[in-house]
């Protein structure tokens, strides 16, 4: 694919897909953008009118926005840190030969196939519930006071739930990367006098860098829009403690019926996501051209 001719041919054959994708993306985006400049409240039909950037002013000066921004970053950052570290640990374990490895690998992947709403409900009602939950039962069994996760540490609890869902994905990607590591390279390092820790730091981690970047990128895209887990467990509360940007947009548009304000929030979220994307692309650009 190096000649000018083949590049032109490649562009031509890609064009239909690109046009379709652009249309698919641009039309909803354009409508949201349009709504964000209107006064558009579902409770007052027929009063739609152009109000300029007023929606943005309200949204960006709303204290709830800053809380939501902080929560979003904490959620994304927390889950990323936990899944990447936990994923590396699990991948290292699952790469060792042990009896029943195939079944254990299958079980580790399982949480990924549970729907977010279902897993959030299971965590809320069966595990974290201070009266009926498993954790409370264990705490009582040990003679401790049960801990009410979702009201005392709501954001951390949601981070935990989302981490549980995404850990299999991270593990799977990192495990495949680990399996592609040349055994002879590890043996060479062993002969060079590198102990287990040095081998991990100097050989295994650099080899996993690319997979870690892929995990980070893909998960960030999904984690910026975590919604079901919050809706099902805390409804964004207590107060605004677990409201992220996605949930804030939802509550503006569909709980306060302010479609204009919600759209402005949506556009702000798109801009923020793009800022994150630029940072990630920078990081990846460095990591991917090894």
């Amino acid at each position: 694919m190096a000649t000018a001719h083949s590049r032109a041919a490649a562009r031509l054959t890609m064009a239909p897909a690109v046009v379709l994708l652009l249309g698919w993306m641009l039309i909803p985006l354009a409508m949201t953008l349009y709504f964000s400049f209107l006064r558009y409240n579902l409770l007052m039909p027929g009063t739609e009118e152009w109000i300029g950037t007023l929606n943005y002013q309200y949204f960006l000066t709303d204290p709830a926005f800053f809380t939501a921004l902080g929560n979003t970053l904490a959620l994304v950052g927390g889950v990323l840190a936990l899944t990447v570290c936990g994923g590396i640990g699990l991948a290292l374990l699952l790469d060792q030969p042990f009896w029943g490895r195939g079944i254990v690998r299958l079980l580790v992947i399982a949480p990924f196939f549970v729907m977010p709403t279902v897993s959030a409900l299971v965590w809320k009602n069966m595990l974290m519930n201070p009266v009926n939950g498993l954790f409370a039962a264990v705490a009582r069994g040990l003679g401790l006071q049960p801990f009410d996760f979702l009201s005392e540490a709501p954001l951390s609890s949601i981070v935990l739930i989302v981490t549980w869902q995404w850990l299999p994905f991270a593990t799977l990607i990192l495990l495949t990367a680990l399996q592609s590591l040349d055994r002879e390279r590890l043996e060479a390092a062993e002969m060079d006098g590198a102990g287990a820790v040095d081998r991990f730091v100097h050989i295994i981690l650099p080899h996993l860098a690319r997979a870690m970047t892929v995990v980070t990128l893909i998960q960030t895209i999904f984690l910026l829009s975590v919604f079901a887990e919050i809706l099902v467990t805390t409804n964004g509360g207590p107060g605004n403690a677990t409201t992220n940007i996605t949930y804030l947009v939802y509550s503006l548009s569909l709980l306060q019926f302010d479609v204009g304000g919600g759209s402005a929030g949506g556009i702000v979220a798109v801009v923020l996501a793009n800022i994150v994307a630029v940072f990630l692309m920078r990081m990846i650009g460095r990591n991917l051209d090894l």
């Binding site: 040349d182 002879e184 390279r185 043996e187 060479a188 390092a189 062993e190 002969m191 060079d192 006098g193 590198a194 102990g195 040095d198 100097h202 050989i203 650099p206 080899h207 860098a209 090894l290």
Partner: protein, 331 residues
């Protein structure tokens, strides 16, 4: 200093015994080559010495000390792998410096040693490149550089040249031989290329199914192979083996190397028809269908103008005949 002694060493993977009890002594400073057919256990034996595999029983002494239970890093050996096993995310400099960094040597000393090694191996202008930006031969040199900076008691090479093209192989072969001459360190070298074995070795160890068939200098193995396996394995093209009536009854089989068969177009011991003749310029290999014996290969120095279907005569040099008994042992 770098003497390596294997005493009744064995290795099995599960139920499969790969190395039956084996004894071998490698003297300090010797260049020893392991040869043998694919799957005979050459790499396994090398990895046992390196400590990358645990022996099932027996003892290994390196440099006078019992090394049977020592981890690879403490055996003081350096290994060059067939796949080079370079660290792709590090520059050439850092690749070569890695073993020194692991030994927690100070920075200035590391730099000095890396520069010195790079100079010996002609890598100075590539020090800041990554392995991915080097040619096969350069990568091989980096792998060797990584081995020599550690100043090991012995070097282990597992088919280090098999990924290189023919011309480069000859070059690298010479470079490794030169390196051995200048360092004087024990080297163990695995190959199934018999030119490498013959040209580089002080001592060749011929392996077959994990057993040592014969140990000796290249010329010893060439002149006095102790059995048919070694006779067939050393020398190219292979030794001609003749069984049946032609042996004259004193032996089960006789063997004669192609270079010890005199070719003639008018008279000789055996008469036959040329099936193929390979003209290399420096030599001519003639495959002759001998009446009542089978196909024999003969080598003539220089150009020998025969073609398919020509009638030729072959005469063996009587003092170069090898005789084997029914078990294949040399008589």
């Amino acid at each position: 200093m770098g003497e390596i002694v294997l005493n009744r060493i064995t290795k099995s993977f599960g139920d499969v015994s790969v190395i039956p009890p084996l004894d071998l002594t490698i003297a300090d400073g010797e260049f020893v080559v392991f040869v043998g057919p694919s799957g005979c256990g050459k790499s396994t034996l090398l990895r046992l010495i390196a400590g990358l595999e645990d022996s099932s029983s027996g003892a290994i002494r390196i440099d006078g000390k019992d090394a049977t239970a020592l981890p690879p890093a403490q055996r003081g050996l350096a290994m060059v792998f067939q796949s080079y096993a370079l660290y792709p995310h590090m520059t050439v400099r850092n690749n070569i410096a890695f073993p020194l960094k692991m030994a927690r040597m100070d920075k200035a000393a590391i730099d000095r040693k890396v520069e010195a090694a790079a100079k010996v191996l002609n890598l100075t202008s590539y020090l800041d490149r990554r392995p991915g930006q080097l040619s096969g031969g350069q990568r091989q040199r980096v792998a060797i550089g990584r081995a020599i900076v550690r100043e090991p008691t012995a070097f282990l090479f597992d088919e280090p040249l098999s990924n290189l093209d023919a011309a480069l192989r000859v070059n690298m072969r010479l470079e490794i031989s030169e390196l051995h001459a200048s360092l004087g360190t024990t080297m163990i070298y695995v190959t199934h290329d018999q030119v490498e074995a013959m040209t580089m070795a002080d001592k060749i160890v011929v392996l077959n199914a994990g057993r040592i068939e014969q140990v000796g200098s290249p010329i010893e193995l060439y002149n006095r192979p102790c059995n048919r396996f070694v006779a067939g394995f050393i020398g190219s093209p292979r030794m001609n083996i003749i069984e049946g009536a032609e042996t004259g009854g004193q032996a089960h089989a006789i063997g004669i190397r192609p270079e010890h068969l005199a070719l003639s177009t008018d008279s000789g011991h055996w008469a036959g028809t040329v099936s193929v003749s390979e003209h290399l310029g420096s030599d001519t290999f003639v495959y002759v269908q001998v009446d009542g014996v089978g196909t024999l290969v003969a080598r003539a120095g220089g150009e020998f103008p025969v073609r398919h279907g020509d009638r030729v005569w072959l005469t063996p040099q009587p003092d170069r005949l090898h005789r084997f008994d029914a078990e294949g042992k040399a008589l």
